[in-house]
Amino acid sequence: MLEIKNLHAAAGDKEILRGVNLSVGRGEVHVILGPNGSGKSTLMNVILGHPKYQITGGEIFFDGEDLTALKTFERARRGIFLSFQNPEEIPGITVENMLRTAKQSVTGEKIKILQFHKELLALMKDLQISAEYANRYMNVGFSGGEKKRNEILQLLTLQPKLALLDETDSGLDVDAVEIVSAGVAKFHNEKNSCIIITHNAQILKHLPVNRAHIFLNGRIVRSGGAELVGEVSEKGYAPFEVES
């Protein structure tokens, strides 16, 4: 589904991604582990074409199509979703209005307003978001945990093929991580894929992890099975530094 080959990217003069190779198949769940500042978030943003970063080498293919020539919204319409580490506050646009516009953009179909409203409220209930939030402005005045649950609400509404979750669990208390984790588990099936950046194994509890990758200094230095997650929580990243 996603093929990244020798990807290099920079922000201005500063090279951040230094030869990333990653292959994610349909139905797979991948975990990326790595210290702060190693470039994990940049990788997510580059996959969606953030204008701040320039690709200086390598390729990104999604379902066989070269992504690099596509605009961000075109990539999203192909079925890529990013759960942001720091979701933006957008005054004046309600959660429901934004999600309806997004759903319409992604599916290309006219949305039935009442039915959409009903479905949205049902999803919000699952995520323990109170119904009034549908009419609140996007992330404005939301707590950190509410913002993250709102990201998962968008994930479940838009039903992408590939979900990129950038530290969706960070800064959350135990109960909130459980809600988010259950939400991601609800989303995942054999037809879609997830790439999860995390420092915390708890979010993976309900998910079958196929591969884990250690990300250091702008690239993946080791890939393995789910057991790598435990290894990192025990020993940290020091043992992998040598390999980078």
């Binding site: 961000t72 979701p87 933006e88 506050e89 957008i90 005054p91 953009s105």
Partner: protein, 465 residues
């Protein structure tokens, strides 16, 4: 590089100009002879002629304001102050001359009247050509008429209030207004009457190089309620037109008045309008103000909180495009204890337009426990445009609770990316952000104007060069 821009306001609708078929025009400029001539044609009572002549004297003595936008393009010797349309005032649209009726049809006035208004006044150049009010309201004692009729039928009331709140000596254009005013609306709501459906006046200036000086006088007696809507537009000419209207609102004890205006003058218009409300004990005035048109605007509706517990809410949006310099804001004077006010504005500038937010909040010694909060936000859509925020506060009263928040910014590129990451196209993302920016204001506008404003914020994406 890609370049995004928000379209200029769609003006085609307003820019259709009719042939000038006025039956009388005063000479250009301003002399005693012209004032006497206007007064005679309008059959003013003698005190009004005297008022006009005194105002002219004041006008000659006061100089132009030395602050704010450049209005030197205005040459009073070239402005025609009085244009009488070839139409009598009627209360049936079918009797309005075809061309004039067509103009108001295009602007949607008769349609809005059927749907959502309890009374309508329509002014074309200097005179009101159509007026109606539901019988239900007249039975309750509500008066809604043009100023000339009011001067005949309710002369004592007009004489008691006319230009007492905005005296001619206030500034040069108030003096000018006192001398040459014509047309406008008079509303009187008796004590305790709740006018549930809005009244609306629409002002259309068709003649080139003319001025419009309509006077709006609204008196809402104790515990009465009214929503009054005003719209203005004009086609574009290459000569400067002048709008120097005057609005005086008297909101008595416990009364509520909501006053909504949408101004969409053409880009050759100098809009130098004066609006003021006198708010008595526990009364409320709500201003909703949209400024989209004109070449230059100077507009700062003023609320004088005169009685204990009086309140003012000001909600305004200003959109300055190419060649426009819109200097708008609000004034609040706290002159009694426990008075409170909220000022909430949004300004947008694009394509080299300049938008200035200017406000003054004064709390007098007689106004302990005053509360005032000001929130003004500006959005610049490109590097060519300008935005300034000039709030002034003068607090003398004790225990005042004053808050002020000002923001000047651009569209957040991170917010655009966030929306695009959800599949929303770039131009739609930008339009959504701009619409979101004005949303707190848009939801206060009368529905048809809110829809219109959303249409105005219509984004386009220019291809790669």
């Amino acid at each position: 590089m890609k370049k995004n821009y928000i379209q200029d306001i769609e003006r085609a609708l307003y820019d259709v100009r009719d042939a000038d078929k006025s039956i009388y025009k005063s000479d250009a400029g301003l002399t005693e002879e012209i004032i006497r001539d206007i007064s005679a044609r309008k059959n003013d009572p003698p005190w009004m002629l005297e008022f006009r002549l005194k105002s002219l004297e004041v006008y000659k003595k006061i100089s132009l304001p030395t602050w704010g936008p450049d209005i030197s393009a205005l040459n009073m010797d070239e402005i025609v102050t009085y244009v009488k349309p070839n139409a009598k005032q009627v209360d049936d649209w079918s009797q309005v001359p075809d061309e004039i009726k067509k103009t108001f049809d295009r602007l949607g006035i008769p349609e809005a009247e059927k749907k959502s208004l309890a009374g309508v006044g329509a002014q074309y150049d200097s005179e009101v050509v159509y007026h109606s009010i539901q019988k239900r309201l007249t039975d309750l004692g509500v008066v809604y008429t043009d100023m000339e009729t009011a001067l005949v039928e309710h002369e004592d009331i007009v004489r008691e209030y006319f230009m007492t709140l905005v005296p001619p000596k206030d500034h040069k254009f108030a003096a000018l207004h006192g001398a040459v005013w014509s047309g406008g609306s008079f509303v009187y709501v008796p004590a305790g009457v709740d006018v549930k459906i809005p009244l609306q006046s629409y002002f259309r200036l068709n003649a080139a190089g003319a001025g419009q000086f309509e006077h709006t006088l609204i008196i809402v007696e104790p515990n009465a309620k009214l929503h009054f809507i005003e719209g203005c537009s004009a086609p574009r000419y290459n000569v400067t037109n002048l709008h120097a209207g005057c609005v005086e609102l008297f909101v008595k004890e416990g009364a509520r008045l909501r006053y909504s205006t949408i101004e969409n003058w053409s880009r050759n218009m100098m809009n130098l309008n004066t609006k003021r409300a006198l708010v008595e004990k526990n009364a409320l005035v709500e201003w909703v103000s949209g400024s989209f048109g004109s070449h230059v605007s100077m507009l700062y509706p003023c609320s004088v909180l005169h009685g204990e517990g009086a309140r003012a809410e000001f909600t305004g949006v200003t959109f300055a495009g190419k060649g426009q310099n819109l200097d708008t804001g609000a004034i609040v004077i706290h002159a009694a204890p426990k008075t409170s006010a909220n000022i909430n504005t949004r300004t947008i500038s694009k394509s080299g337009g300049a938008a200035t937010y200017r406000s003054a909040v004064k709390v007098t010694k007689n106004a302990p426990f005053a509360k005032c909060s000001v929130n003004c936000e500006s959005l610049m859509l490109d590097d060519k445009s300008r935005s300034d925020t000039l709030p002034v506060m003068d607090i003398e009263g004790d225990e005042a609770d004053i808050g002020h928040e000002a923001k000047i910014g651009r569209i957040s590129e991170e917010a655009v990316f966030y929306l695009m990451a959800r599949g929303i196209s770039e131009e739609e993302a930008r339009a959504m952000i701009v619409r979101g920016f004005v949303e707190p204001i848009a939801k206060e506008l009368p529905l048809e104007y809110a829809v219109e404003m959303n249409n105005l914020i219509n984004l386009e994406l220019e291809g790669q060069l």
